[in-house]
Amino acid sequence: MSLPPLVEPADELTVDEVRRYSRHLIIPDVGMDGQKRLKNAKVLVVGAGGLGSPALLYLAAAGVGTLGIVDFDVVDESNLQRQVIHGQSDVGKPKAESARESIEEVNPYVNVILHKERLDSSNVLEIFGGYDLILDGTDNFATRYLVNDAAVLLNKPYVWGSIFRFDGQVSVFWNEYGPNYRDLYPEPPPPGMVPSCAEGGVLGVLCAAIGSVMVNEAIKLITGIGDTLVGRLMIYDALEMTWRTVKVRKDPEAEPITELIDYEAFCGTVSQEAQEAAAGSTITARELKDMMDRGEDFYLVDVREKNEYEIVSIPGSVLIPKGEFLNGEAFGKLPQDKRIVLHCKSGGRSAEALAALKGAGFGDAVHVGGGVLAWVNQVDPSLPTY
């Protein structure tokens, strides 16, 4: 869909800026007018992670005048496989600060604004209010719906991208001109049904493919050129190397968005059943170690996936993935005369499996709060984390 330019042009470009952006300026569709619009644009990137990294670098290089970054996290070594705006020496540093340093090196003419806080219902409208356009590269459904609803309420467009393993999806949502995210996906999946990147993994370079399309769309929206992805969803398969496009329509039955809601409750992080199962049936990694040291007779089950088990595991654990608890296959593999102890990476999946296990009659089963990460942290720091 072809749309009017989002941003008015800046008064002028300096001589230095003309030199820097010359390869844009000689494209007829961009030209001085388009580059001045980029200079005047204020773009907010939510999440300086996998998608935010390439997006911020290319937005900065393209000459977007003001770049905001929302991120409360710090750089971890496991980020560096894909989050190319951060480097080895940034490990432990706030991602927002690390990203700013990289941007300043790419383009010193960009004004960078940091929001080192978690985006929530209390601050989202104020933060978004200062920008023309938002890029959403966050990693959870609660923030996805928060970004959407805030953008709708403020009548701002946003570019949306998401990634998982080898698959990417990207679109532009602008309620005034087309559908919003709730028209595409009215409700989030129940917690535990769709794995996150942290659980399922992501091919690092997938971030570049999707992040670059996001910036492409941002530039088109700002300058008013081309046909944007408003009303279309692009789906990328990196294994088959295909891009497909499907239509997204406004849902005539959708409830109008009139206010922000409690997004954690809307999306849940752990299901109600899992919370109830885990209440009073959660042990710490340290308690697990004590049970081992006392020689207690129990059966330790790791409910993660095989690849994760190969990275790091708790000694003596048996691998039975969560899916086998949910479809019932696991129960026949478990001893009836021993207490069952479940664990996963950080405690979410094992709580889901625990609910199924208790439902099958294993009343004294427990799970390890914090999972194998807590084990590494509290019991054996020599083991790797992921």
């Binding site: 999806q169 409700e187 794995p195 996150s196 499907v246």
Partner: protein, 92 residues
């Protein structure tokens, strides 16, 4: 009435990792029944307990969302492509 069905990564556990499988049926409902017969368990990830398409999954015939066509009764002409597109949140 053979159609090809695009299977997203998170459902490929049901199709022996195949990204595309063929299925028979003149409507989406029949295609999903045939899919379930050959790949048990997959339909429950697309439809809820009362048989409706889950609200976080979109099913397309060609490039049209069946929610805006005839839902499960949407015709699936021979040779058409059915795509299952679940919500994915990852950006990390």
């Amino acid at each position: 009435m053979s159609v090809s069905v695009r299977v997203p990564t998170i459902l490929r556990g049901y199709t022996s990792d195949a990204a595309e499988v063929s299925a028979e049926g003149g409507t989406l409902s029949e295609v999903l029944a045939d899919l379930e017969a050959n790949h048990p368990g997959i339909r429950a990830r697309i439809l809820d307990d009362s048989g409706r398409i889950r609200r976080f999954v979109n099913v397309y015939v060609g490039d049209e969302d069946v929610r805006f066509a005839q839902g499960l009764e949407t015709a699936t002409p021979s040779g058409s492509q059915v795509s299952i597109i679940p919500a994915v949140a990852g950006g990390c």
